[in-house]
């Protein structure tokens, strides 16, 4: 049983695996593991396939992760979105046989010449990438998920159950995984239950983690790959918009959503692309929900670090730092004493 493969292990397996799949001579010319908060171990691999250079990304299930997700759902989402106008890496193979690499894995094409760090952009770049970021999210919201085949990989909720089902799911994550009681999260969960929003404006594909850092772009060009679909589901499109605007993603520059655009500008772009007009009251519910969902993810990562077999530094550090920040965001949203630094009704 291969518990934690070395880079050599992964290279050998990938060369043999892809050689058989493609009936070609495949060699690995370079491999590196990618660091990050992703829910899978990620490897960037350069191949020589019958003498031609090709890059692929391998994502392997880890023993512990920030997010407990279904690999089939993630791979299915990439497959469904790939033919659309939303750019995603081409999904190549999903392998559930654990005997090959010690855990299931998927392989996708590399998105070449692309970066994910928006901090490297100047103002013009931030405007360009920001405009694309929220236009693509609006485009995704406007799509018909049934026509894309998502009913085969996701549950299809009723419009008036989208909020309730998401709240129920993330409540359970917090209650199951909290190592210490979370009084701010508890207060926020009660507030969310008392203020359930109206039915979703439409049923949409919800990416589930649409934020700066989860898409790739060419430094002087366009967004070329939207990544990390492991929390994808069908639901209210306001969920993705609220998550993309969570203050956590612009902690040091709170005036710029996702460190890219003013919040109002991002919303305008999304409304134009989606054809939807957001209801401020419902949208505030989704903003509070986003902070609770974020807190649930970080509580879960702390629990993974505490009880899991593999101690990853990112689980401990992100679990600590982000729970702290999400709690302060919720205090800002909900406390009657709040100065409303992050917005919301007084």
């Amino acid at each position: 049983m291969m518990t934690q493969p070395t880079l050599t292990d992964v290279s050998n397996v990938v060369a043999h695996y892809l050689g058989e799949k493609w009936q070609s001579v495949v060699e690995v010319s370079a491999i590196e593991r990618v660091f990050g908060g992703a829910s899978r171990e990620t490897y960037l691999i350069q191949l020589l396939v019958d003498g031609t250079t090709q890059g692929v990304v391998l994502r392997r299930d880890p023993p512990s992760s920030l997010i407990d997700t279904e690999r089939a759902l993630e791979y299915g989402a990439y497959s469904a979105i790939y033919p659309t106008s939303i750019p995603v890496p081409e999904p190549l193979f999903l392998e559930n046989d654990e005997s090959i690499l010690g855990a299931p894995f998927s392989i996708m094409s590399e998105v070449v010449n692309a970066i994910s760090a928006v901090a490297t952009l100047d103002e013009s770049g931030r405007n360009r990438i920001g405009e694309q970021k929220w236009r693509l999210l609006g485009d995704l919201a406007a799509m018909d998920p049934i026509a894309l085949g998502f009913e085969d990989i996701c549950r299809v909720p009723e419009l008036d159950r989208c909020a309730i089902e998401q709240l129920s799911y993330w409540r359970q994550v917090i209650e199951t995984d909290e190592i210490h009681p979370q009084p701010v999260a508890a207060a926020a969960l009660r507030w969310l239950e008392r203020n359930i929003p109206g039915p979703a404006l439409k049923l949409s594909v919800v990416h589930g983690d649409y934020r700066s850092g989860n898409f790739l772009f060419e430094p002087e060009g366009e967004i070329t790959g939207v990544l990390d679909w492991e929390m994808c589901h069908l639901g209210d499109p306001l969920e993705d918009l609220a998550w993309s605007l969570d203050p956590l993603w612009c902690w040091d520059t709170p005036q710029l959503a996702g460190n890219l655009l003013p919040h109002a500008t991002a919303i305008q772009i999304w409304e134009r692309a989606s054809g939807l007009i957001l209801n401020q009251k419902d949208f505030f519910w989704w903003r509070v929900f986003s902070a609770v969902k974020g807190l649930a993810i970080w509580v879960s990562s702390s629990e993974d670090f505490h009880n899991g077999a593999v101690k990853q530094s990112i689980l401990a550090y992100a679990g600590w730092a982000m729970t702290d920040r999400q709690s302060r965001i919720l205090l800002d949203y909900l406390s009657p004493l709040s100065q409303k630094q992050f917005g919301g009704p007084r």
Binding site: F35, P183, R190, S313, R328, L337
Partner: protein, 137 residues
């Protein structure tokens, strides 16, 4: 003499960041080790102040529960620290018990005009506690 644990841990974190990370061979190893060093630095701070912060929280939560009892709200006070066990694990247990009591109290008062002052005092405590425990980044 025993070195101050927080100083020792902070020195280790600085040494890892300054001397080990730059000579590592891969981006993954550099990022992973840098995060380990950041975790060490945060733990050094927690080692120095963690117990004091929890004790301050516990005193504040005792005050909230006393306020509730005066107002006629039945919130049982958790076991306190009569065993003089000041290990972080024991303080954490007591802190958790008081936090559960405050959550129960919050449920009782948050929708009642009669208890709006206690509700505000709870929010004030939650904000002060969050500020006390925020990670220095």
């Amino acid at each position: 003499m025993i070195p101050y644990p927080s100083s020792g841990l902070k020195m280790l974190a600085d040494r890892v960041l300054g001397s080990v990370v730059p000579v590592l061979g891969s981006k993954f190893a550099m990022s992973d080790t840098a995060m380990l060093a950041m975790l060490m630095a945060a733990l050094a701070e927690e080692m120095e102040f963690g117990i004091a912060r929890r004790l301050t929280d516990i005193e504040s939560m005792k005050t909230l529960i006393a306020l509730a009892q005066v107002a006629g709200i039945d919130i049982p006070e958790p076991d306190s620290m009569e065993d003089n066990d000041y290990t972080l694990s024991r303080i954490n247990d007591i802190h958790d018990a008081y936090t559960c009591a405050v959550i129960s109290l919050h449920v009782e008062v948050e929708n009642s005009e009669d208890f709006s002052e206690i509700n505000r005092a709870i929010w004030q405590y939650l904000a002060a506690s969050a500020e006390r425990h925020k990670l220095p980044l």
